[in-house]
């Protein structure tokens, strides 16, 4: 076969393969005829709510078409109220010392209570006003503590091995092993 004929053969095979690809892919998207499908779809369609129906309802005096508008206006009003509300925080200035209240009778112990016990709020009893304590001009020796002496620094002196106390040498007593009575009676007979 000449090269020209071989090239023509290859081109023919190339075209045949392309035609085969086109044919198979066309069959892959081929559908069976279904003449009643359009009517089945049309009969199963739901009711439409088109713009024309909304306009007809508006001219008929109904206000259902205004519901989205009312909802939008209400949302805008709510958003405006939310934005314009008083968001200022109360002042955080310190209270004057005269407002300090003495707390008396705070329990500092926890009492074990049996389960099932019902606690009831007791009425608050009125307390007598506490007289203000006058500041003392002289030192209060009854409540003050004695001053603590300053700590001295810890000093460790150098120590040579010759200064260590001599210890006596370790002496072991000789171990004495007594002779064992190795006789014929020591072995059990077989």
């Amino acid at each position: 076969m000449t090269p020209q004929k071989a090239q023509m053969s290859q081109m023919a095979e190339h075209d045949r393969l392309d035609a085969a690809i086109d044919q198979v892919t066309a069959r892959m998207v081929q559908v069976r005829d279904d003449e009643d499908l359009a009517m089945r779809i049309a009969s199963a369609l739901p009711e439409r709510s088109s713009r024309f129906h909304l306009r007809a309802a508006r001219f008929g005096g109904q206000v259902s078409w205004l519901i989205p508008q009312f909802a939008a206006i209400a949302f805008a009003i709510a958003a405006g109220v939310w934005m314009l509300r008083d968001t200022s925080t109360p002042s955080l200035s310190p209270l004057p010392s005269s407002d300090v209240v003495a707390v008396i009778g705070v329990p500092n112990t926890v009492v074990a209570v049996e389960p099932g016990t019902v606690f009831r709020t007791q009425p608050v009893e009125l307390l007598e006003p506490v007289e203000p304590v006058e500041p003392l001009n002289s030192p209060d020796f009854d409540r003050s503590l004695a001053p603590i002496a300053p700590m001295t620094a810890l000093v460790v002196s150098d120590l040579s091995p010759s200064e260590l106390p001599a210890t006596p040498a370790l002496e072991l007593e000789p171990i004495a092993i007594a002779d064992l009575p190795l006789t014929a009676e020591s072995f059990p007979p077989r």
Binding site: Q10, D18, Q23, V31, D34, L37, M39, I41, L45
Partner: protein, 202 residues
């Protein structure tokens, strides 16, 4: 200019405009006649996406209901066909995603790419006699194994119902990209067929 073009198109196809106007008033029969002319093409579009005729018909029904509900959003009644095809394509894609997620969730062995190929016609055409069953099955499997970006425009073009511009509008891609994807799909198919022993004798 747009108004003029619209009026010209309306004059070219007044029946579509009349049916759209009737359907907008709630006339189901008018809508049925409106989609009847495009139903075969719509089923092919859906079949290109989902791969199974039963799923394709389900997608077309869902798309038809959606088009019926949104008919007021169709600005140009003469563009009903392209508008309807885009809805069909989107519904078919939704169905394909849901089917894939279903198979992934339940671990079925018959995934979307592994399901057997169903041909609508059992009796082959005179041209089909030239193709062996082995080669046809190999081509179909290779096409189904293509990535969706290549397979979708290739199958839509193979249906013969749409121009490149319509496919580009349907898929939301530039026309140049669509042309490249179709050519690339053909190149990949030929390369894989060559590996399977069905390529050109060299």
């Amino acid at each position: 200019m747009l108004t003029m073009a619209t009026s010209e198109a309306a004059a070219a196809n007044p029946e579509v405009v009349r049916l759209v106007a009737l359907a907008r008033t709630g006339d189901r029969a008018a809508f049925g006649r409106l989609i009847e002319a495009h139903l075969t093409a719509a089923r092919r579009v859906a079949l290109a996406a989902v791969g199974q005729p039963s799923d394709a018909d389900e997608a077309v029904q869902e798309a038809s209901v959606a088009a019926w509900k949104r008919l007021d959003h169709l600005n140009d009644p003469t563009a009903f066909r392209g508008w309807y095809m885009r809805i069909v394509w989107r519904k078919a894609l939704d169905r394909r995603r849901s089917l894939r997620s279903w198979f992934d969730r339940f671990g079925a062995s018959t995934t979307d790419d592994q399901r057997p190929i169903e041909f609508a016609s059992a009796d082959p055409s005179p041209d089909a006699i030239l193709i062996s069953r082995e080669l046809a099955a190999a081509i179909a499997q290779v096409v189904k194994a293509l990535p969706p970006k290549l397979r979708d425009p290739f199958l839509l073009a193979a249906s013969g119902d749409h121009r490149y511009e319509e496919i580009a509008t349907m898929l939301g891609a530039p026309i140049g990209t669509i042309k490249w994807r179709i050519a690339e799909a053909r190149r990949v198919i030929r390369m894989k067929l060559d590996r399977l022993g069905h390529g050109d004798p060299r």
